[in-house]
């Protein structure tokens, strides 16, 4: 009898707080398909975490942000990269549909003018990520970092005393692109490992820096705001 009472008590205690699961007796099936895994892991009552909204949009850098970032990293008086602007124009600035940010029909000098075609004037400030964009960004990084002056221009922006890449060096390279985030230990280790592997294979110091820059540049995460 005591066991039966305990069973009824526990049943009531559990069901009374489970309205958020969409009705008490659905509790037995809540491991099914109706809810996201974020909601599943919430075993606290009331809910301890905010549910993820399906309509949430990623915040991602638009073409102006990306162009400015690259200008900042790769502009140098001592190691000029003459193709920087043409590469930015080809793979970023002219790609409004892939990167977002409409053109300005009234501008002829901002780099955002419509070039006689105003069809892109009403594009949103940012767009969602897409595969074409990533391929363009990959081209930008690959073509830009093919030039050793681009590597040197980026290295001017970091403050590392050692000649070859080290943990502090890769951390600072990372920060050139990821402005609001310090690299995790896993990321630093991965980049240092990459450098060591290249060193063991006899790649030049410049190519080892190039490799670190290339890897960070082509990684997609820094576009997230």
């Amino acid at each position: 009898m005591k066991q039966r009472l305990l069973f009824i008590f526990l049943t009531l205690v559990i069901y009374q707080n489970c309205g958020q699961f969409g009705g008490g007796f659905d509790l037995l099936h809540y491991g099914g398909t109706a809810m996201s895994s974020d909601q599943m892991l919430d075993t606290q009552h009331p809910a301890g975490t905010q549910p993820t909204q399906s309509t949430q949009k990623m915040q991602i850098a638009n073409r102006t942000y990306i162009a400015e970032l690259f200008r900042e990293i790769f502009t140098s008086n001592t190691s000029p990269v003459p193709e920087l602007e043409s590469l930015l124009q080809r793979w970023v600035v002219s790609r409004d549909s892939q990167y977002g940010l409409g053109c300005d029909p009234y501008s002829t000098y901002s780099g955002q003018d419509c070039g006689g075609d105003i069809s892109a004037a009403n594009l949103p400030y940012t767009t969602e990520d897409n595969t074409i964009r990533q391929s363009f960004r990959l081209q930008l990084c690959d073509n830009l970092l093919a030039n050793e002056n681009a590597v040197k221009a980026a290295l001017e922006k970091i403050n590392v005393r050692s000649l070859a890449p080290n943990a502090e060096g890769v951390r600072q390279i990372y920060k050139l692109f990821y402005r609001a985030e310090d690299p995790s230990a896993e990321v630093v280790t991965a980049l240092v490992t990459l450098d060591r592997t290249l060193a063991e294979k006899g790649e030049s110091v410049l190519d080892r820096w190039r490799a670190v820059l290339l890897q960070v540049c082509t990684s997609p995460g820094w576009q997230l705001l």
């Binding site: 991602i60 594009l123 391929s135 081209q139 970092l145 995460g221």
Partner: protein, 555 residues
């Protein structure tokens, strides 16, 4: 008895079963997690059983042309009451003495369904032959009898693409389950007509410019300056190892990091696969579609369309134009048949189909959104004019009258139908069976009784779907009423939406009805629209099963 250790005594079995039952009632957090994961695995396994979704191709006709000659079907069964005449819904010219004297709504029976006169003809095929339009009708489903109740061009276009907020658009539904490199592609950028959403975060790849295929693929070509790529290729394994960490960990706390990683993985995979033969493909394919569309548009001697002289009486039936003030009446000194002799494929139309063919053949994307705006290069002579000129006839054909509209729309839709047939020929039986093409406009047209033009038919919408998965067609769903709009300007049968008895939407069905019906053909695990609007067809064992037969209601 063999291995006794495997045979549980009944008592032990019952104890175990009780424990399992109790565990189900009182799961620990770990068990909850395990069940969640198991449920997820099961869900994924079920999804795997469904397989890759069908390719989805959305052909948008911005502006909303009149579609009565093509897919806005009115009287589809011999048991339907006769239509109440309206010159704007005519499908065939009447003639006497070698000269057109009027127009009528004419159909013919194909596989038990009355289809518009246009489909009794043939169109050009990419192999140089002629192909009967009934080949397309066999694979057709017409969805009519729905509406939004509100006016507006982009609004209604968006409503049909994504009728329910917070869930995927139709294109997004297919993309949600795509495992292809791009998931979804759109060309050109739809701007205000944009409605793509994917709750699974699958990317929409918008292509800009006038050479869409090279734009789509140019990022995957070789780097002009190869030093960096050569470095990566010399040290592939080391780079791949580092990339795996960076792509997973960098900014991983930010919303969207997973989507970014997926897109980057797709980029790298396609880069590795390599891109070849685009230039060799593009020019001949584009020319093939242009030829097919153009020859189909310009065809002469079509019974009931171009077999009799079309000489204007300079009444409003010979009106042409989008807006009052810019319209004009065709001259009585001009045979209107000349109009289509110069007609060209709508801008983006041939390119869109050539792009779609490449994408689907190469398995690059699941959803493709293309565009067929206005009707270009129509030769016309204004009443009182001396020499003909060429005009682009807008789809928003407010001031395009019954006679001009019948000819121009027939020619345009012949071109579109030919392009779809050519796509199906190129894809082959398997590819076409795995593809669903949806033809969509902002709305249909409300037909003016005096034949002077048409307005926005947002209470009389229609869309049509073509697929090798649809066999033994055509099929038509959705109820319409026999009368016109409640306005003396729009008398006559014109496809005004009507309720469906026993349906889960009361009154006029919304665009969700059409979306749900299209989604039912996409071979996706779950139709996200069905709770709001049940699909009007289901595919069962390769057969289309109509859930609510279409009615022309005498109301």
């Amino acid at each position: 008895m063999g291995d006794d250790k495997k045979n549980l005594p009944r008592r032990d079995f019952l104890i175990g079963a009780t424990s399992l039952g109790a565990s189900a009632l009182f799961p620990t957090p770990i068990e909850m997690l395990a069940r969640t994961l198991t449920g997820s695995f099961i869900k994924k396994a079920e999804a795997a059983l469904v397989g890759e979704p069908r390719n989805y191709v959305n052909v948008m006709m911005p502006g909303g042309p009149s579609r009565y000659v093509f897919d806005h079907w009115l009287r589809t069964s011999p048991s339907d009451p006769a239509v109440i005449p309206n010159p704007m819904v005519a499908t065939r010219f009447l003639s006497s003495g070698g000269r057109a004297t009027g127009a009528e709504y004419a159909t013919f029976d194909f596989n038990g369904v009355l289809v518009p006169h246009m489909f009794s003809h043939s169109v050009a095929s990419g192999d140089g032959s002629q192909r009967p339009l009934t080949d397309l009708v066999k694979n057709a489903l017409v969805i009519r009898g729905y509406g939004s109740g509100l006016d507006g061009h982009p609004f209604n276009a968006q409503q049909q693409q994504a009728p329910v907020g917070g869930i995927s658009s139709i294109a997004g539904c297919a993309a949600d389950h795509s495992t292809k490199y791009f998931a979804a592609v759109q060309w050109p950028n739809r701007a205000d007509y944009q409605a793509y959403t994917s709750t699974e975060g699958k990317a929409l790849n918008k292509i800009s410019g006038l050479t869409p295929l090279s734009t789509l693929m140019e990022g995957f070509g070789p780097a002009a300056a190869p030093a960096a790529r050569q470095l990566r290729e010399r040290n592939q394994a080391a780079f791949a190892q580092a990339a795996a960490v960076l792509n997973s960990y960098a900014n991983s706390q930010n919303f969207g990091a997973g989507q970014l990683k997926t897109n980057m993985d797709n980029t790298l995979a396609l880069l590795k696969k390599g891109v070849k033969g685009i230039d060799e493909y593009w020019a001949p394919a584009l020319e093939r579609y242009r030829t097919v569309i153009m020859n189909s548009m310009r065809a002469s001697g079509l019974v009931g369309i171009t077999d009799a002289a079309l000489i204007s009486d300079e009444s409003v039936l010979w009106n042409v134009g989008a807006e009052a003030g810019t319209n004009f009446i065709v001259s009585k000194d001009f045979d209107l048949r000349t109009a289509i002799s110069t007609m060209a494929p709508a801008a983006f139309m041939a390119e869109g189909f050539a792009l779609t063919e490449y994408i689907l053949k190469e398995g690059l994307a699941t959803s493709v959104e293309i565009w067929a705006p206005q009707i270009p290069n129509v030769t016309l002579l204004r009443a009182g004019g001396a020499t003909p000129g060429t005009f682009n006839v807008a789809h928003d054909m407010h001031e395009t009258g019954a006679m001009t509209g019948l000819l121009i729309c027939t020619a345009f839709f012949r071109g579109l139908a030919a392009a779809i047939l050519e796509l199906s020929r190129q894809l082959g039986d398997t590819g076409w069976g795995n593809t669903v093409v949806q033809v969509m406009g902002d709305f249909s047209r409300s037909a003016r009784t005096n034949g002077s033009g048409s307005d926005h038919g947002f209470n009389q919408m229609v869309t049509s779907v073509y697929s090798g998965a649809i066999t033994q067609g055509p099929y038509v769903v959705g109820n319409i009423r026999r009368s016109g709009l409640n306005d003396s300007t729009f008398i006559g049968t014109q496809g005004v939406a009507s309720s469906i008895e026993g349906y889960n939407q009361k009154g006029m069905p919304t665009p969700a009805m059409a979306a749900s019906t299209v989604a039912a053909l996409l071979n996706i695990e779950k139709n996200p629209f069905e709770n709001i609007a049940a699909p009007l067809v289901k595919l069962e064992n390769g057969q289309v099963k109509v859930q609510h037969p279409a009615k022309l209601k005498d109301e």
